[in-house]
Amino acid sequence: MKELVRDTYRYRQLIWALAMKELKVRYKRSVLGFLWALLNPALMMLVLTLVFATIMRFSIKHYAIFLLSALLPWTFFAQSLGYAVESIVGNGELIKKVAVPKLVFPVAAVVSNIINLLLSLIPLAILVPLMRHPIYWTWLYLPVPMLALIIFTLGVTFLFAAANVYYRDVTHIVQVVLSAWFYFTPIIYGLDLIPVNRQWLFKLNPLLYVINGFRLAVYYGMLPRWQSVATSFVCAFAALLIGYGIFRKYQDDFVFYV
């Protein structure tokens, strides 16, 4: 774990350059370029609001904000995982020729998505006053669930990036897992929609606590209970410990399988 922090710090410039490369390549050859990072969530908001608030008539006030406050952190998680799972295999040619710590690739994938997440908060911050929803002071609390989310995401990405080196099926499995996970997490709905005797099942979801933190702060203007915050950090560090532990154990072998 000490090694993870040390190498991340030592190679911070490389990680940053790789993350910027990822963003540049992602938006290269598009007329709007980086604007897509803002437009993507904005357009998604529009579609989802249309579907859930207008057509399906969810009776949640300011549904777009309710939805986005949970959807943006989810999107960060899903996209990070989608990118990072390929990060070792995708950089295989590089790994075979240059001695470089392997952890920089999944970390860079996550960092590029952190930038995306921060950018995507801008359209949300514009939308809130636009819909005459109050901007609560609890927005200031957002860095806390964000930190837990990033740590959790890193752990999960380490695990899947390593697994994908050995079995390329993992890329496909991740997609299936993500779509199931999406519906299992209260994003398009609230946890209160779930019958009380079934709620324990949803509470097993480690992502619930972070996503709940986002929604409480942005939509309800409240802070989560300390137990919920503690749970989110325990889950996050557990994921990182397991994910990075496995990654570290196998990283010297990656070069033979990519």
Partner: protein
């Protein structure tokens, strides 16, 4: 016994009883379906293959060592072990000082990024800082003769430009140890000359160079020591002309026919 001569130069590359084992799968299960199918058939379809076998090698600072041997004799594997790309299955590799691996030039280049962006990325990959790369940027561009193309994506570069830029990045950072794997076979004559001129100036400034080539004349002309590898083991080590002679002797056509 030439090692008995007083050698004040410190050892900068130390390879101690290194073995590199590769697991060669006849049908490596790349997907879980194949894995499950393999289990069901109770088939373990791999064999172990030692690309480098119990090799020990010491290189003193300022030496230019040529590695010779047939294809598959373990030259590239040995270079990659020294470069730190592989962790040895057994034994120890110790390298003193910064090392620039010219194993495949431009390995870190991304075709969508510009030459300038790639200079930075490649330098960072080799472990240099951003400030350092910015400082050396102009001399890299000058040496590579890239001109105004430096701000175009490298996918638009000719293969010669690509090579020149990669060589420039790898050598301009001023490494103490240079590893060159057959890369000088490409590029036009004038650039090759420029590369060799730079390699000479590296030698004059007391840097260590490990060099793989199939061009025996290059080995004899450039190196002050040669190592012959065969089946992953050191077969001869000494004066380039003699080692090259051994190599030619062992692998002369009539001998291979008898083999």
């Amino acid at each position: 016994m030439s090692k008995q001569q007083p050698l004040p130069s410190p050892i900068v590359v130390k390879v101690e009883n290194v073995t590199q084992r590769f697991r060669v799968m006849s049908e490596r299960p790349d997907t879980m379906r194949e894995l499950v199918a393999g289990f069901l058939r109770h088939k373990v379809s791999y064999r172990d293959f030692d690309a480098v076998k119990n090799v020990s090698l010491q290189v003193a600072q300022g030496q230019m060592v040529g590695l010779v041997g047939r294809n598959g004799s373990g030259k590239s594997t040995l270079l990659k072990l020294i470069a730190g790309v592989y962790k040895p299955t057994a034994g120890r590799v110790h390298v003193e000082g910064t090392l620039a691996p010219l194993i495949e030039l431009g390995a870190g280049f991304h075709h969508e990024l510009t030459g300038r962006e790639n200079i930075l990325l490649n330098g960072l990959l080799m472990g240099y800082s951003k400030a350092e790369m910015r400082r050396r940027e102009q001399s890299i561009i000058d040496f590579a003769e890239i001109g105004e193309f430096i701000d175009s994506p490298v996918k638009q570069y000719s293969s010669g430009m690509h090579m020149r830029l990669a060589f420039a990045v790898a050598t301009e950072v001023d490494p103490q140890i240079l590893i060159i794997d057959e890369i000088l076979a490409v590029g036009d004559a004038s650039f090759q000359q420029k590369c060799f001129a730079r390699i000479r100036s590296f030698r004059e400034s007391g840097k260590t160079i490990l060099f793989v080539s199939h061009n025996m004349q290059q080995i004899i002309d450039q190196c002050d020591r040669a190592v012959l590898l065969e089946h992953g083991a050191v077969l001869a080590d000494g004066v380039p002309a003699e080692v090259v002679e051994t190599y030619k002797h062992i692998w002369a056509p009539e001998m291979t026919a008898a083999d």
